[in-house]
């Protein structure tokens, strides 16, 4: 279960960011924002390192003491970032991958919606619903 999910556009501004309501939601903003550095580095590194693994899943971006940050980039350079709690060790890589898959599917649907302009914040309810299902249930 994620603590914060963000969708970031090609130009590195957020299209969608949703986090578990806490006192300081802004810290998630910061975390995701700084993780973009790592994401960019990874993307550019792929080209240089001649790594054949052109995977969309970027894996663990960086760990902080409280959270682990995972990244995923689509072919259209839209980035998904999931922040999970560090203490949640039961979450395995596969699960994270599947979460990203679902995100990507939903995002594609949003993209194909003719009423959606690429570059606008995502306001689709279906997308919202899918994300809520993935988030930690706040009690």
């Amino acid at each position: 279960m994620a603590v914060c999910i963000a969708v970031i556009a090609k130009e590195n501004y957020p299209l969608y960011i949703r986090s578990v309501p806490t006192e300081n939601e802004l810290k998630f903003h910061y975390t995701v924002h700084t993780s973009l550095d790592v994401v960019e580095e990874k993307i550019s590194a792929v080209g240089k390192a001649l790594v054949d693994q052109r995977e969309l899943y970027l894996g663990l971006l960086y760990p902080t003491e409280d959270y682990k940050v995972y990244g995923y980039v689509t072919n259209s350079k839209v980035k998904f970032v999931i922040v999970v709690d560090s203490s949640n060790t039961s979450l395995r890589d596969n699960e994270i991958r599947s979460m990203f898959r679902k995100l990507h599917n939903s995002f594609t649907d949003v993209m194909c919606n003719p009423f959606y302009n690429p570059g606008d914040p995502i306001q689709s309810k279906a997308f919202d619903g899918m994300v809520s299902a993935m988030m930690v249930q706040a009690c």
């Binding site: 090609k10 792929v46 052109r54 689509t74 072919n75 259209s76 990507h104 003719p114 690429p118």
Partner: protein, 161 residues
């Protein structure tokens, strides 16, 4: 396979509709350019969405050439059920995609007849290619030309920002 016909008919009607709308307004010269840009704009948006869907499962692209190859193969197959027959490039950002039997033109003629109408029916496809490339991170200018029906050439010039 009725699917092909669906899109072809829709496309034909789309072009006719746009031109009919425009014809009620301006003179012919302006009408042509505006209609073409409307069609191209439509294609652009569709291309963006399509590429998102098609590349959902494919791994990343290495470079521009890789992207163009993808367009020629998977993208074209997805749209027109065939590949691009010939891809040429000058390695400096210009690519020419040649399709010897472009499915939207096959019903016109097999030679020079209706040549002047052809560009109208290529505008949407140009937009498709441009939208797809844009979403993959490449700004480009796409134009099309027809020398003999039903073969046509799409010329893509990648804009270096």
């Amino acid at each position: 396979m009725a699917d092909d016909a669906l899109f072809e008919f829709l496309h034909m009607e789309m072009v006719a509709h746009v031109y009919k709308q425009q014809a009620s307004r301006a003179e012919t010269e302006q009408e042509r350019t505006t209609s073409v840009s409307i069609l191209e704009g439509m294609g652009f948006r569709v291309g963006q969405g399509l590429i998102e869907r098609i590349t959902k499962d494919t791994p990343g692209f290495k470079d521009d050439l890789d992207i163009m190859k993808f367009i020629c193969k998977d993208f074209w197959i997805n749209l027109f059920r065939k590949q691009i027959d010939n891809l040429r490039t000058n390695h400096q950002g210009t690519y020419v995609l040649q399709d010897n039997r472009f499915s939207l033109l096959t019903q016109f003629s097999n030679g020079k007849q209706y040549m002047e109408e052809a560009p109208k029916y290529l505008a949407f496809s140009c937009g498709l290619v441009r939208g797809a490339l844009c979403n993959l991170g490449l700004d480009s200018v796409v134009t099309a030309e027809v020398s003999t029906m039903p073969s046509c050439k799409f010329q893509v010039v990648i804009q270096k920002a």
